[in-house]
């Protein structure tokens, strides 16, 4: 019935349709389903009008990400509307995908900021400060410097405005007044305390080189330290300088395509390398196998052929077990000619290491045996011979000094010998079953293991006597370390892969990581087999998930071992691919010259960030464990009883790490006195230090004379983003209120050489100045905020390690409201500074102390890596050898603005040195003079002008080898002088000589850069960048002690920590270190590992408050939890929770997801207090940032210096500000929240 009625209705409809057809005359489909109408006009103009725009401008985003994506910015009626990606990257070849389009949702939402209500539109200052300043200025007859002196000299007034930091109360001030306050603060501080009490912080130059360099140049000209960031961010893989002697050098993402086997290990490529992820997705279609190692089911896992999920922070155990399998099956049971040949030529495995007597007739690994020990290497002077490790020639059985060790790098005798040519020698890898000595069963060597407290293993290592000492090879030690048994060797060895008791077996790692032993074996075999088949085309993309740990260097070394043993480094499609932090300024030399003002004054002050903040934010005061809590059971014990702050001070004293403020006196006074003494400044300061008349500031960091006083932050969000131990920054550096509850170290657990003051200073900084276009935690806590132009409002340059191009920022509009570019702000500040400096600072002599520097002869200051401290009174102080270098620098403070705006003469007079290679820019200076004009008068008279951002960019490109082939060729020629003929470096020079990139090229389109001495890899339009290809293809040594890639590091402190060889170290046991969170005990809280991986909806703090991103996310701070952990605290999805430990409080909503493992929560990186953060239940105050639950812990070995590749360079080598070992309790809180 119903059915027939429906049928009737349908028939009626049919008839109606047919009738309609007659009436309409429009054509229809045969079944009359659709009608084609031409009789109606439609209005589709609204969307056409919406799409219409007036112009499209090329720019990019100067944010701390590696994207460096070129964008189209659309402008309509003079207003920025939206952005889409450029797609015009130069082709990388017909048989591979292209780089287009590069971008991500964060970048796509950037235009939101331009007119957003969070934009800083005018200079802002805290009202309470401005009132007091104006008042003081009136009373001082309008003298700004005197006003600042009064304001900061009065403890009550100082306290008043410091306590107001972060609590609102901004007022709008005009530019003149803002600049005047900033300049007055700097002038006063320099006169009263010294230029090293002023500091600048601006990270990641590659993301906008000119904006970075102009401010860094400003600070360098006034003598203020620039604080490093890459190490401070814990993005610096400290294993890289340890192993490669290089900061970080990695393949461009286009080279992933060349890999046949790709492991994504702790790197969530789709989220953190969004524009590059397609290479991975596409390379799979080329048959690439993808293995993801991640504790959570991260975005990248979707692409994985295999997902291995070790417990967080245990990755090193998995890698050690893979190494065990690899060494067992591809080195011991069977040899692969490609692997064996590679490790002989390019690694330290054949080099000899002395065995030191331990207890009970056993031994521990000691120092490299050098030519000096054996009376070899007579071609070189005695000093150099201590830097020449030796090996045995298998053919002759003689000990030989191979070319290319550090001993050949700096001396005159090494000219032409610093190369990897073995001259016919065949390096002997193992002494096992070799003639002579104890090769058959070896001697017992004690090695530490860290998976069980205090435990060691005893392994037989083949050895023989050479020059009166017992020696072995690094290879033999490595096999012992990896527990790879060989017939006849003494000691204890695992019974097989399934022996779970002994370190490094697959079964042992399963116990630690939970990864099935079979899976570890399979991964190792596939990895090695593919490398064998493809001659090294296996790649490991490694990221923050494995790099932000306290012991990340050991984790990374266990990864690098897999790559180096299989000959994957220095091969396209192979090797490590560490992408954390955008370290690669491709036009490096020019940026470096200009940013350090090396064209006017040398040297500049470059400070290692981690020790700086460790001391100046008072975090050391809350550390009650001794430095040797981390030492190995095999340690000789030189760290016993010391506090990490003692090590920081020692590192400064010995010239290892820089330290600013350096001395407990104004370096301008010291400079004047040194000059008046008529002595060499080094001799003078040695006397002063020896007599105790002058001390290191780091030995009493809480003394008011040793505080940093003025800090300028630009292109950065220090307080909200990178400040590990956020609450201590607030308390001690800023004097603001904070949420930490940790106890100070009790007497008996305090440093010996660093003064303890019972009244910890609260509020060291007199002025926190920030430049930004948006409100951040840093601007909220600043005293003075200057409105900066956005990336769509200025000229600048961008590059990255992920792609081989340089390209431009261009202004789509002029900076709106009262915003100004960073470039213009520093220039106007310089003018005001110069005016106020006249009569107060004028010309002064600054005593500058600098650390023993990487890639300079300073790296050969302390032979053998033996630590002797002149503080013991037995060793004379020798600046430049066992103490910092000391230089007297003349500063004309009134000439600041003129020098800032012109290219100085020193680059031509002394050349420009990068990575030990010096080139001279005579021709470029002439070119710049013609291109940019010259200063008509004044202190920079006749010098090429750098007075606009475009000229500044032009200079960066002109002065760099990657963008100026003439300089690249000159650098390769100089390198050829040192390496010697036959390496093909002259041909490489010839191939790049004609390349030249000028600024307008980069505005037109991203431009491919050329190969240059500045980097270790070769590149060209038809050659993807892969690091160390210059080394493997041109016999150029690595910048290490042996000139090869190092498995073994023999510094005293490495022995203390038991890390001479790759080793597994578990995440820190914070309870043992006195830093475990206390549970509320009511059963409604769980204690969990607290991970802060990089986020999907922001780049660090940037975009995190952007409405588009928050809309696609959850609308505020969130913590991801497993269903079980959420269940344990009774929390449902989107419930408010609180995470609390001794360092602070975080309030967030929970996201419950089964992609998170139990016992671990994820709070994605840099969720600030800016949006949707209510007051906490725990202390009634605003919830904290992600770093409110962290506290700095400095790893002692990162402080080593003056020793080969373990030598300081800013952002190159230095302690990391790691944070990943943190734990917290977490509980469901009341769902009623207040703001």
């Amino acid at each position: 019935m119903v059915r027939s009625r429906a049928k009737a209705a349908a028939d009626a409809a049919d008839r109606l349709l047919k009738a309609g057809q007659l009436l309409r005359k429009s054509p229809t489909t045969l079944d009359l389903r659709a009608v084609y109408r031409t009789d109606q006009k439609v209005n589709d103009s609204p969307y056409r009008e919406r799409w219409a725009h007036d112009k499209v401008v090329r720019s990019t985003h100067g944010v701390n990400c590696t994207g460096s994506c070129s964008w189209k910015v659309y402008v309509k009626d003079g207003l920025i509307t939206w952005e889409t990606q450029q797609t015009d990257y130069p082709s990388v070849g017909p048989d591979r995908p292209e780089y287009e389009p590069r971008g991500c949702p964060r970048g796509a939402s950037f235009s939101w900021y331009t007119y957003s209500p969070t934009r800083v539109r005018h200079p802002l200052a805290r009202g309470v400060l401005v009132e007091m300043y104006r008042d003081a200025k009136r009373r001082h007859g309008g003298d700004p410097v005197a006003a600042w002196a009064e304001l900061t000299g009065d403890p009550d007034k100082r306290r008043r405005y410091q306590r107001a930091r972060g609590h609102g109360g901004f007022v709008r001030v005009d530019w003149d007044e803002a600049l005047e306050i900033a300049a007055a603060a700097q002038v006063h501080t320099i006169a009263e305390y010294g230029p090293d009490r002023v500091a600048g912080f601006s990270p990641i130059p590659a993301m906008s080189m000119a904006s970075h360099a102009v401010g860094a140049r400003y600070h360098s000209l006034i003598g203020a330290p620039m604080i490093s960031f890459y190490d401070w961010y814990a993005d610096l893989p400290i294993a890289s300088p340890q192993v490669f002697g290089d900061q970080t050098d990695v393949p461009e993402s286009g080279d992933w395509w060349d890999a046949a086997y790709l492991m994504l290990w702790g790197s969530n490529v789709p989220v953190t390398r969004t524009p590059d992820a397609h290479w991975m997705a596409e390379a799979r279609y080329r048959g690439q196998k993808v293995v993801v190692v991640s504790p959570d089911y991260a975005d990248a896992t979707k692409f994985a052929d295999e997902w291995l999920h070790p417990h967080p922070g245990t990755d090193g155990a998995l890698a050690m077990a893979m190494g065990h399998v690899l060494l067992t099956e591809f080195f011991v049971r069977r040899q692969v000619p490609y692997f064996t040949d590679y490790v002989k030529r390019f690694t330290d495995l054949p080099f000899l290491v002395a065995l030191d007597e331990h207890a009970q007739g056993r031994y521990t690994p000691g120092k490299f045996v050098t030519a000096a020990d054996l009376g070899l290497g007579r071609h070189a002077d005695a000093g150099a011979r201590a830097w020449m490790p030796v090996l045995i020639d298998a053919d002759t059985d003689d000990v030989v000094v191979p070319n290319g060790t550090l001993g050949d790098r700096w001396g005159k005798d090494g000219q032409g010998r610093w190369n990897l040519d073995l001259g016919g020698a065949d390096p002997l890898l193992t002494l096992h079953r070799h003639t002579d000595g104890r090769g058959d069963n070896g001697v017992e060597v004690v090695l530490p293991r860290f998976d069980e407290p205090g435990a060691t293993v005893v392994r037989g290592v083949p050895a023989r006597e050479v020059g009166g000492r017992l020696v072995t090879t690094v290879y033999d030690l490595l096999l012992a370390q990896y527990a790879v048994a060989r017939p006849g060797l003494a000691g204890h060895w695992p019974g097989g892969y399934d022996d779970a008791d002994d370190p490094c077996t697959p079964a042992w790692q399963e116990r630690i990581t939970s990864v099935p032993a079979d899976a570890a074996v399979r991964a190792a075999r596939e990895f090695a087999r593919t490398a064998e088949q493809t001659r090294g085309r296996c790649m490991i993309v490694m990221g923050a998930g494995t790099n932000h740990w306290f012991h990340s260097d050991t984790i990374y070394r266990s990864f690098l071992s897999l790559l180096i043993l299989t000959g994957c480094q220095g091969v396209n499609g192979g090797g490590w691919a560490h992408y954390v932090g955008q370290e690669k300024v491709r036009p490096y030399t020019g940026w470096q010259q200009l940013s350090t003002a090396a064209d006017w004054v040398r040297p500049s002050r470059q400070m290692a960030g981690t020790p700086y903040w460790y001391l100046h934010t008072g975090q050391w005061r809350y550390e009650s464990h001794a430095a040797d809590a981390l030492a190995a059971p095999t340690a000789p014990g030189t760290l016993a009883g010391l506090h990490t702050a003692d090590l920081v001070a020692q590192s400064a004293r010995l010239g290892w790490m820089p330290s600013y403020p350096t001395f407990d006196a104004n370096p301008l006074d010291l400079g004047r006195r040194a000059r008046e003494s008529g002595q060499e400044p080094g001799d003078w300061i040695a006397e002063q230090l020896g007599s105790g008349a002058v001390d290191f500031a780091c030995e009493d960091p809480d003394a008011p004379r040793n505080w940093p006083r003025v800090l300028t932050v630009w292109r950065a969000n220090l307080i909200g983003s990178s400040a590990k131990g956020n609450e201590y920054f607030l308390r001690h550096l800023l004097g603001a209120r904070d949420g930490a509850t940790a106890e100070e170290a009790p007497p008996g657990h305090r440093p010996r050489s660093v003064a303890w003051r019972d009244d910890a200073p609260e509020g060291k900084l007199d002025l926190l100045l920030s430049l930004d276009f948006r409100m951040t935690s840093t601007t909220l806590f600043s005293d003075l905020v200057l409105p900066a132009a956005t990336w769509y409002e200025k000229h600048d340059l961008s590059s990255t390690d992920m792609h081989p191009f340089v390209h431009a920022f261009s202004p789509a509009i002029n900076p709106p409201w009262q915003a100004r570019t960073d470039f213009e702000i520093f220039h106007s500040l310089a003018r005001r500074f110069g005016e106020l400096a006249a009569g107060r600072l004028d010309t002064a002599h600054d005593l500058v102390a600098t650390a023993l520097q990487h890639d300079t002869p300073g790296e050969t200051a302390q032979p053998g890596g033996r630590v002797t401290d002149w503080r013991d009174g037995r060793t004379p102080i020798e600046p430049g050898r066992n103490a910092p270098n000391v230089t007297l620098v003349e500063r004309d403070y009134t000439a600041l603005a003129d020098r800032l705006a012109a290219f100085g003469p020193l680059a031509e007079e002394h050349g420009m040195t990068v990575k030990g290679v010096t080139v001279n820019p005579h021709e470029e200076a002439r070119w710049l003079a013609a291109r940019c004009g010259t200063a008509p008068a004044g202190p920079a008279h006749g010098r090429p002008l750098l007075d606009t951002d475009v000229k500044f960019c032009e200079a960066i490109l002109a002065l760099s080898g990657t963008t100026n082939g003439r300089l690249a060729a000159e650098g390769f020629d100089r390198l050829a002088d040192r390496v010697g003929p036959g390496a093909g470096l002259a041909e490489l020079a010839a191939s790049v000589r004609e390349r030249r990139v000028v600024f307008s090229d980069t505005q037109e389109r991203p431009v491919q850069v050329g190969a240059s001495f500045e980097w270790s890899g070769k590149e060209a339009p038809d050659r993807r960048y892969s690091p160390f290809t210059v080394n493997t293809e041109h016999k150029k040594p690595w910048h290490t002690l042996t000139g090869r890639q190092h498995f073994y590091v023999d510094h005293d402190w490495m022995a203390e920590l038991g890390e001479q060889l790759p080793v597994y170290r578990p995440p820190l046991n914070l309870a043992e270190l006195g830093d475990a969170p206390t549970s509320a005990g009511d059963g409604r809280a769980v204690t969990v590992r607290y991970l802060t991986p990089h986020a999907k909806w922001s780049i660090h703090s940037e975009y995190q408050e952007n409405l588009l991103m928050q809309t696609l996310a959850r609308g505020g701070p969130v913590i991801w939890m497993s269903p079980a952990d959420a269940g344990a605290i009774g929390a449902a999805d989107n419930d408010w929770v609180e995470a609390v430990n001794a360092h602070g409080v975080v309030v967030a909503r929970a996201i419950v997801s089964h992609r998170v493992p139990d016992g671990t929560v994820l709070m994605y990186h840099v969720q600030e207090r800016l949006v949707n953060v209510p007051k906490s239940e725990a202390n009634g105050r605003r919830g904290g940032v992600h770093n409110s639950l962290t506290k700095l812990l400095v790893k002692p070995t990162h402080l080593i210096g003056g020793y080969g590749q373990l030598s300081f360079a800013p952002n190159y080598y230095g302690p990391t500000g790691n944070q990943r070992d943190a734990v917290t309790t977490i509980r469901r809180r009341s769902q009623e929240v207040t703001y």
């Binding site: 059915r3 049928k7 349908a10 489909t29 079944d31 439609v42 589709d44 609204p46 799409w51 309509k76 009626d77 207003l79 509307t81 939206w82 889409t84 990606q85 995908p97 292209e98 389009p101 590069r102 971008g103 970048g107 796509a108 235009s111 209500p117 800083v120 009202g127 609590h167 609102g168 007022v171 969004t274 992820a277 997705a281 596409e282 048959g287 690439q288 196998k289 089911y297 979707k302 052929d305 997902w307 088949q533 409100m775 909220l780 999907k1096 588009l1108 928050q1110 809309t1111 696609l1112 959850r1114 269903p1123 419950v1152 997801s1153 089964h1154 992609r1155 207090r1169 949707n1172 209510p1174 007051k1175 605003r1182």
Partner: protein, 542 residues
């Protein structure tokens, strides 16, 4: 034979990284306005998950698309009479809560907060009424499996699957599904519009809403089974994805395609026979709809088809584009792309290559060697992403075509791995999936190399006449009454206003996201709201 052309899209889900760049560029370009705050013409869903609006695939609830009644296609929302009767109270309409309540924050508090005793923050505010709000749902709430087993179990597809899917850590799986309007061959939104405002363009098949004709009845919103027609609450009219026709007409890809960082979108011309569509959409068994739709497509290499196409008014360059169409290759030649929810019977024209990725993981788990092709094909049904789930998405539950597509991808990888490693090639790999080596290489070229000019093959718009009205020969190409670039016709030209800025157009001056300048509808006159801080809240001066 009548021939029609459509510019269609294929998305390769195997390459989607879930970055949402497409969503953001689309939103910024098109729906960043008052009335469309909650509207995402393009969104990306994590599956399993509820999607946006939540549970949109549950047609029992939303009554979208077509159903077969008595062998005839009728809108699921009922016949014309039923629809008219419910014009004013349509229970099948999603509420704002089903999408989400759009919000913003009191950002200005960060700058203007007076001196207090705590750190300023910007609390959430409703973007609809400006009042304090709690954020409890969003357009992408279950991103990356957020919400956990409880919430994700509400995914309508999971409910429909016969096999049990465990949502736990060890067995976690996910993939991303970017969605735009399907620009269907048999669009139910067009069919149900009482005002005739929705139309499918003859020349390229793009489905649009005529903003003049729309009366805001919202039948299209409930009629669209993909929930890709939205109601602009400020203008009272329906809006939807336009396939970026101003760009397509110029030969440029849609914004979502051009900005797709995963390089997974393809655009190209499909030729089809419109007279076959009705029957194809009416096949009895839902599982036959995929093949039925394939049967509507015409082979541009067939001379018959080419002749018919030109006879139907399709220019030569469109036929040529159809021959080079990457979409055609992926859909018809290699059959790796599949339609989204063919069971809605709308004949969607945005197709998807299913995600292959975790096959080896499943294999190794079951003790196979993942690189052995025989094992590979044998184990496709042990994927980490359950085959049944993909089948519910793409083939009305029939696992066959999904399995075939995945096998082709697997075969390509397997073949290319041998090439990559310099191993001997095995022709049986290609044969096993019905391809030859040449086919494998072509598929590889399209999916792996994916050069810009091969991802997007878009002929420019065509008109039937030459725009030179007067024959003077001196006119520019934009001349032509009513043509592009001409000023509006009309007699109210006022010489006195020659240099004056244009007058305000009251209909279009809606403001954008609250507190943000609406740049696009700003007429250049006066001070738009939000460009400058509101005076009451500006930073105080001393």
């Amino acid at each position: 034979m009548r021939v029609m052309a459509q510019v269609a899209m294929v998305m390769n889900l195997d390459k989607c990284i879930g970055c949402h760049t497409c969503s953001v560029t689309c939103k910024q370009t098109w729906t960043n306005r008052t009335g469309t705050e909650y509207v995402w013409f393009n969104n990306v869903e994590t599956r399993p998950g509820q999607g946006y609006p939540r549970g949109h695939e549950d047609q029992e609830k939303w009554k979208g698309g077509w159903q077969l009644k008595g062998g005839r296609l009728v809108p699921r929302s009922g016949g014309r009479a039923r629809r008219l009767a419910r014009l004013f109270a349509n229970p099948d309409l999603p509420t704002l809560d089903d999408y989400y309540q759009p919000w913003t924050y009191d950002y200005e508090n960060l700058t203007t907060a007076p001196l207090g005793d705590d750190i300023p923050t910007a609390p959430p505010r409703s973007l609809i009424d400006g009042r304090p709000t709690e954020i409890t749902w969003g357009p992408n709430w279950d991103d990356d499996l957020g919400g956990g087993p409880d919430q994700l179990a509400a995914d309508p597809l999971l409910a429909r699957m016969s096999e049990q899917v465990r949502l736990d850590y060890e067995r976690a799986f996910m993939f991303y599904l970017p969605r735009i309007c399907e620009h269907c061959l048999n669009p139910s939104c067009v069919a149900v519009c009482p005002s005739g405002a929705l139309y499918k363009r003859v020349e390229d098949g793009i489905v649009l809403v005529d903003q003049d004709r729309c009366r805001g009845w919202r039948m299209c919103v409930s009629g669209c089974p993909y929930k890709k027609v939205y109601f602009n609450h400020a203008t009272g009219k329906a809006e939807k994805c336009t396939f970026c026709y101003p760009r397509i007409e110029a030969g440029d890809p849609t914004v979502c395609s051009e900005t797709c960082v995963g390089r997974l979108r393809y655009l190209g011309v499909m030729l089809y026979d419109p007279d076959k569509v009705g029957a194809a959409a009416s096949v009895t068994d839902e599982k036959d709809l995929y093949e039925a739709q394939l049967g509507c497509f015409l082979d541009p290499d067939d001379p018959e088809v080419a002749r018919a196409a030109e006879a139907s008014g399709i220019p030569h360059d469109w036929v040529e584009a159809a021959r080079r169409s990457p979409v055609g290759a992926l859909i018809s030649r290699y059959r790796v792309a599949l339609p989204l929810h063919p069971e809605y019977r709308t004949m969607p024209m945005v197709w998807y290559i299913p995600p292959l990725s975790p096959v080896v993981d499943a294999l190794t788990g079951s003790g196979h060697d993942g690189e052995d092709p025989a094992a590979l094909f044998g184990a496709i049904d042990t994927l980490r992403i359950p085959l049944g789930y993909l089948a519910e998405l793409f083939t009305a539950g029939d696992p066959g075509p999904v399995e075939a597509a995945l096998c082709r991808l697997a075969a390509m990888r397997s073949h290319m791995r041998r090439v990559n490693l310099g191993e001997e090639q095995d022709p049986r790999i290609a044969e096993a999936v019905g391809l030859d080596e040449r086919g494998i290489l072509e598929l590889y070229r399209l999916l792996a190399l994916a050069k810009y000019d091969e991802r997007y093959v878009i002929p420019t718009a065509y008109t039937g006449s030459v725009p030179d009205p007067g024959g003077s020969g001196a006119g520019c190409s934009l001349d032509g009454v009513g043509g592009p670039g001409m000023m509006p016709e009309g007699g109210d030209f006022d010489p006195d206003s020659f240099h004056a800025p244009p007058t305000a157009d009251s209909s279009g001056t809606a403001t954008s996201l609250r507190g943000r300048v609406n740049l696009l509808n700003w007429n250049g006159k006066g001070r738009p709201d939000g460009l400058f801080p509101r005076t009451v809240r500006t930073e105080p001066e001393l």
